[in-house]
């Protein structure tokens, strides 16, 4: 009944497939021990890296910085097809090997563990003579993206991130070596080093491929004549290309290698407008410890570097939540604000983390004007909110270089426009320059009250603030504002959340306020011990329900 030839072909097809899928794989090979021999922090680290460690009270001779044993590297490189990276922090090598090779490597007495890795997907948010023209609406966004972060105050104080070194890990910096937004940085030789981690060897050319990194860099420090795009125009830079669209998981490895390179080269801040989500992980794995890149980011923070990362652009997608490494507890995760409305922009990924930590930490404009390879462009994504805050962080750190990275992290949170109020869409809101520049800020007058009457709780706002410009009525108020005629002057929103006993939000809301009595809630509708937190026009109140 069976016809032997076709069946033979089919059988061949069936049996061939599994073997075809078992060609070269990538593996992480973790080693048992390291060598201290020949490690001299003063020759290994850039002097700024040493300064940062000293400032942060970190040991200069830390085992995690010791080199991977050369004998191990040599032996393994002979057994594997290729060594992709070596990591001091993880005491590991990423290698390309087939099953037979990796089984041999696994048997080596100094191999602690072998982890199989496969490609993942980079989720980078949104992007020929140089065009600096912008439309009226774009000019408003351009002004607003820095005004909301206090550019006037920073300029008045002469703060521009000078002395800070910022590493940018991105997909490519197409023509950034010619884009006029970085003329000053180039002429003052503040572009310290570049490195393409996506190619073998020590390739220093990162100015090709994708222009995402060019736009990101401009949101940190871009300036063309009088047009300022980012805040940290005086900072120094390290540019690392860690992404290429064809290889997936290797990009997380490149991120790790670039972070180590940034550390070695004295970076104070890393900006990473990258995120890894569903192609490799489930959203409940955003717990700050599961993803490879998250672990790497936490180690970088442990080295005294402030790691700033985009929250992600999955707010409207089924994924919904932040990506990795924005889930890391030591990573300052940045959400996106819509300039048109003044609150969370729909695509910006939400928190919290799976283990219920607040993310994002703070927010900035998610729709920006950036310097693309061919001209100024309107673009969107938390990819651009992140560098805006990275530039802010550089300015903030310049005001007090004695702060450790995590102290700065906390201060940036405290400076947030909503602080102490928070939610999982905005974090603590938009960081405010005044917190760092004017320690004697006038207390904000009460803008609303909560009237408790038996079982009911009613929120009543001051009538004079309804539909009016809070900033003009209430100077000094820290509030998120809607961009109407001019960025930074607009109507206030009422933010409220319901927090459980553990300090985790059960729900949160933003309301448009069109009348004095905004909202009535009934205590009997809530669980005992829950708290109602309300924020309006720079003022926050909490009430036990």
């Amino acid at each position: 009944m069976l016809k032997s030839k076709p069946l033979l072909l089919l059988s061949g097809f069936l049996f061939l497939l599994p073997f075809l899928s078992q060609a070269q794989q990538q593996w992480m090979v973790y080693l048992k021990d390291k060598q201290h021999k020949n490690f001299n922090p003063y020759s290994y680290f850039d002097k700024k890296a040493i300064e940062r460690r000293v400032n942060a009270g970190l040991p200069l001779d830390d085992p995690s910085d010791w080199p991977v044993k050369e004998t191990y590297i040599n032996e393994i490189s002979l057994m594997a097809n290729d060594v992709i990276i070596t990591s001091r922090w993880l005491n590991a090598l990423a290698v390309e090997a087939d099953d037979l090779q990796i089984n041999t490597i696994r048997q080596l007495p100094y191999v602690l563990a072998v982890e199989w890795i496969k490609p993942s997907q980079m989720q980078a948010a949104g992007y020929e003579d140089y065009d600096t023209s912008v439309s009226g609406n774009e000019a408003q966004i351009l002004a607003g993206q820095l005004k909301t972060l206090g550019i006037d105050d920073w300029q008045k104080a002469g703060i521009d991130g000078k002395g800070l070194r910022i590493a940018i890990l991105d997909v490519g910096f197409d023509r950034a070596d010619h884009v006029p937004a970085f003329d000053q940085i180039r002429s003052e030789k503040r572009l310290i080093a570049t490195r393409d981690f996506t190619t073998r060897g020590n390739n220093e050319n990162v100015f090709y491929g994708n222009g995402h990194g060019t736009e990101v860099w401009s949101c940190i420090a871009g300036k063309i004549g009088d047009i300022q795009i980012g805040l940290a125009t005086g900072a120094e830079f390290l540019l690392a290309k860690t992404e290429k669209s064809s290889e997936k998981f290797s990009e997380e490895l490149y991120w790790l290698a670039a972070a180590e390179w940034a550390d070695k080269n004295g970076a104070d801040i890393i900006n990473s407008s990258l995120g890894y989500t569903g192609k490799r992980y489930f959203n409940w794995q955003m717990d700050g410890k599961t993803s490879f890149v998250t672990r790497a980011a936490n180690i970088a923070a442990g080295k005294g570097i402030l790691v700033v990362n985009a929250a992600g652009n999955e707010g409207s997608d089924p994924w919904h939540y932040i990506g990795a490494p924005a889930d890391a507890d030591s990573v300052l995760s940045i959400g996106g604000i819509d300039p048109e409305t003044g609150y969370h922009t729909g695509f910006s990924s939400y928190g919290p983390t799976t283990d219920k930590r607040m993310k994002p930490n703070v927010s900035a404009y998610g729709h920006v004007i950036a310097a693309a390879p061919a001209g100024l462009t309107s673009t969107q994504g938390t990819s651009f909110a992140s560098p805006l805050v990275a530039g802010f962080a550089a300015c903030a750190w310049q005001t007090n270089r004695s702060l450790t990275n995590m102290q700065l992290f906390k201060e940036i949170e405290v400076s947030g426009s909503l602080y102490p109020y928070f939610d999982y869409a905005h974090g603590f809101g938009i960081p405010q320059a005044g917190h760092f520049l004017n320690k004697n800020q006038t207390p904000i007058p009460q803008t609303f009250k909560i009237i408790e009457n038996g079982d009911s709780v009613t929120i009543v706002v001051n009538k004079y603030l309804i539909g009016k410009t809070a900033a003009s009525e209430n100077p000094g108020s820290q509030s998120m504002k809607r961009n109407e005629d001019e960025p930074g002057s607009s109507q206030e929103y009422l933010y409220y959340n319901i927090m459980n006993k553990s300090g985790v939000l059960d729900s949160y809301y933003v309301l448009d306020v069109t009348q004095s009595e905004v909202l009535t809630l009934f205590k009997s509708d809530f669980l005992h011990g829950e708290t109602l937190n309300v924020h309006f026009a720079g003022y926050s109140i909490s009430v036990k329900l």
Binding site: P6, L10, L14
Partner: protein
């Protein structure tokens, strides 16, 4: 339930006060871990496919490879066992058209030469398969290999001819409920896919024609592609 009531009351109260809710997130509800999805415990998807009979030297005289076709659609269920292994079932309808070559000698299903002629069999089929996934991934189907077996009831068996008459008109004739075709079919299948795009191959172990009619067998191997229908 209490929470739903609360939200309802809240929405009611807000509407009374004419305050517009600009943003609303219920974290408790959001954090319920789903069990249905491309790489979750249960996953059901639709599919639509097209295949072509291949590799039948004895029967090539009777069919036109590349013109004959197998159209299929159905639903497929997958139960995740591990990140790398799953089991599944599917059900669907296959309509296979064998277009018969009109040249001597011709014996299927008879010796008559027509302008066009085909045997069309529609099968209500079910299959069971095991899936081997390659690579770590999140809630994505990813890259996979399916190996399985299928069986089905040939619920519609048609013989169709088209001939031009003396007036130059096309005369189409269709004969159904063919007695010389088996009622059931079964065979092996394999699929190799990435996300919603799949290459398929199925090998029919059963015969099409009843052995008592002594007709040469039609192609057993069908190779084609499928597109998954899911978000």
């Amino acid at each position: 339930m209490k929470r739903i009531l609360t939200i309802s009351l809240l929405l009611l109260s807000l509407s009374v006060f004419s305050q517009e809710i600009l943003l609303q997130q219920n974290v408790k509800a959001d954090t319920i871990r789903p069990s249905r999805g491309p790489n979750l415990r249960n996953f059901t998807q639709g599919y639509i496919g097209l295949g072509f009979p291949f590799f039948t030297n004895e029967t090539v005289r009777y069919t036109r490879p590349g013109v004959s076709s197998d159209f299929s659609f159905g639903l497929r269920y997958k139960r995740r066992i591990t990140n790398y292994f799953a089991l599944g079932l599917d059900g669907g309808i296959h309509t296979t058209s064998y277009k018969l070559k009109q040249s001597e000698p011709k014996t299927v299903p008879d010796t008559a030469i027509n302008d066009k002629e085909k045997i069309q069999i529609s099968t209500l089929a079910g299959s069971a398969f095991m899936r081997i996934n390659v690579g770590r991934r999140g809630n994505y189907i990813g890259n996979y290999l399916d190996l399985g077996a299928y069986g089905g009831w040939n619920f519609q068996k048609k013989h169709k001819t088209t001939n031009e008459n003396a007036e130059g008109e096309n005369v189409r004739e269709s004969t159904t409920r063919l007695k010389y075709i088996e009622n059931f079919s079964y065979g092996l299948l394999t699929r190799i896919g990435t996300s919603r795009y799949t290459l398929t191959a199925q090998y029919r172990l059963s015969d099409i024609f009843l052995s008592s009619y002594s007709m040469p067998e039609l192609p057993r191997l069908i190779i084609g592609f499928e597109v998954g229908l899911f978000r």
